[in-house]
């Protein structure tokens, strides 16, 4: 149906706005919360909506990554060494969470596998489209990029804190062991 829309859309333009709910959803995502209506419409053109069935792999570890996903509905699991005896569950994500954001900024392989834990709807935003946006709408591009950098910094700070806590816990454990000897 969508294909026909593209061809005939210019002549028989649809007055209704089928993507209104996606924009409403995006407005509640911290990454796009500060954007205006017109800017959200521009972002909406870049997004790809995908549906995944339970246990369907979204992307595999060590494969080249092209972009990030936002969970619109359902649940997504992030796994290390998926489908191997060493499989580790790294995170469980639900509505509004996003993952794979590193691939938006660097040309590297995926560090983990993402799997739909139930029937899920995802919104994808990809590196080529984002860089195209930087060229076409630099102001909007900067807004999105600075927010993304901000969120990545928050995640890094959180990881640093967890690492510090882990190191402290290990040190205490070591001291306790030495004291008990």
């Amino acid at each position: 149906m969508k294909k026909i829309d593209v061809i005939w859309g210019n002549i028989f333009k649809n007055k209704g706005d089928p993507n209104q709910d996606i924009r409403q959803f995006l407005k509640n995502i911290p990454l796009f919360a500060q954007l205006r209506k017109r800017e959200l419409r521009e972002i909406d053109h870049l997004l790809h909506q995908r549906q995944y069935k339970k246990d369907e792999v979204i992307f595999w570890q060590n494969e080249p990554g092209v972009g990030m996903y936002i969970v619109q509905s359902g649940e997504v699991g992030i796994f290390g060494d998926y489908n191997t005896p060493e499989q580790q569950s790294l995170a469980r994500l639900s509505q509004g969470d996003f993952f794979g954001e590193m691939a938006l900024l660097e040309d590297d392989n995926r560090s983990a596998t993402a799997v739909a834990l139930g029937d899920s709807k995802l919104i994808g935003i990809f590196h080529p489209d984002l860089f195209d946006l930087f060229e076409r709408k630099p102001e909007l591009g900067i807004k999105v990029l600075s927010k993304l950098a901000n969120m990545l910094a928050q995640r890094l700070r959180k990881t640093n804190l967890e690492l510090q806590q882990l190191t402290c816990a290990r040190r205490t454990q070591k001291k306790d062991k030495q004291a008990s000897r």
Partner: protein, 365 residues
Amino acid sequence: MNPLPENKSIVINLNRSFIFFLFKVFIFILVALIAAWILPHSGMVLTPLILAALLSILLNPLVVMLEGRGLNRTGAVALVMGIITLLMIWLMIFLAPVISREFKTIGQAIKNETPATLMVKLKTLLNKHLPLLKNPEINDQIMTKIEKSIYAMLNRSIQLIPTILPLAISLFLIPFMTFFLLKDGRRMKKSFIQSLPNRYFEMTISLLHKIEGQLGSYIRGQMLVSLCIGILSIMALAILGVPYFLIIGAMAGLANMIPYFGPIVGAVPAIILNVIDKGSLNAALVVILAFVLIRLIDDSLVSPNILGRSLEIHPLLVIIVIFIGGEMFGIMGLLLCIPVTGIIKVTIEELHWSFKHYRAFRIGS
């Protein structure tokens, strides 16, 4: 009810997948047959479509730049197409008198110089410079062969020239198609990606992005090189006083897009016309020297700086493709066969890369 025994369910599954496989093979054969039936009749639409696609790749950076200045997509495309139309009109007004004068003199020359009179001129010229040909038997044999090949060449060139109707349709279709490809190209791409299964979806985004990037720089580079060669040829031929230098120089620039044969195709008319005009074989040498010099400038300065690491197509493949393109679609086929081969080559290379890096591509994974 008892559940199906395990081996029975496997047989059913196998049968289902086999039927699905057969269905896929049937669809593939059907599509191939339809394509084979349509292809010979598609020249009238296919050639303008390819030209429009190449033009849209060429103009896209300009549209993106205007979008960056605050214009919306439709406005930016309309502005670019408007500027190009105005430029074409201005060029026509500016060049029309010169070109019509050149065509008039060409027409006059054709009236005065039939292949027969041309042969007489050539005969006296060769007799004068090559004493070996004074033997009447050898002379006659050579002259009959040359005359035959001139007639064959003329017939072939007339066959290659597109007839007026397809040309008029193309002139209308190309700007129309270019406008919509520029305006809606991104949405068409998105719709295509949307229709793909999840396992191929991300890989296709990466694949299309790489193909677009490589192809864009290749086509823009080729067009720019042709423009440079065209300007250099016009300048050189004007300095040498070759008649109809404007048309022949522009043709040499356009022909430069055909590898190996292009520069020869561009040089031959200039050599023949200069020899007839000046009446000496030295005139041929001077033109050959000018074209060799232009080739050297192209190989050492223009192409390396503009094209950089371009698509390398094997010479044998180039020759085969040029013959097929010329045979199937005439002049347009000759000009477009290399960019189209470039598109196919980049696609195959990127598919091969994806095959190595994405597990979705490997059968059975």
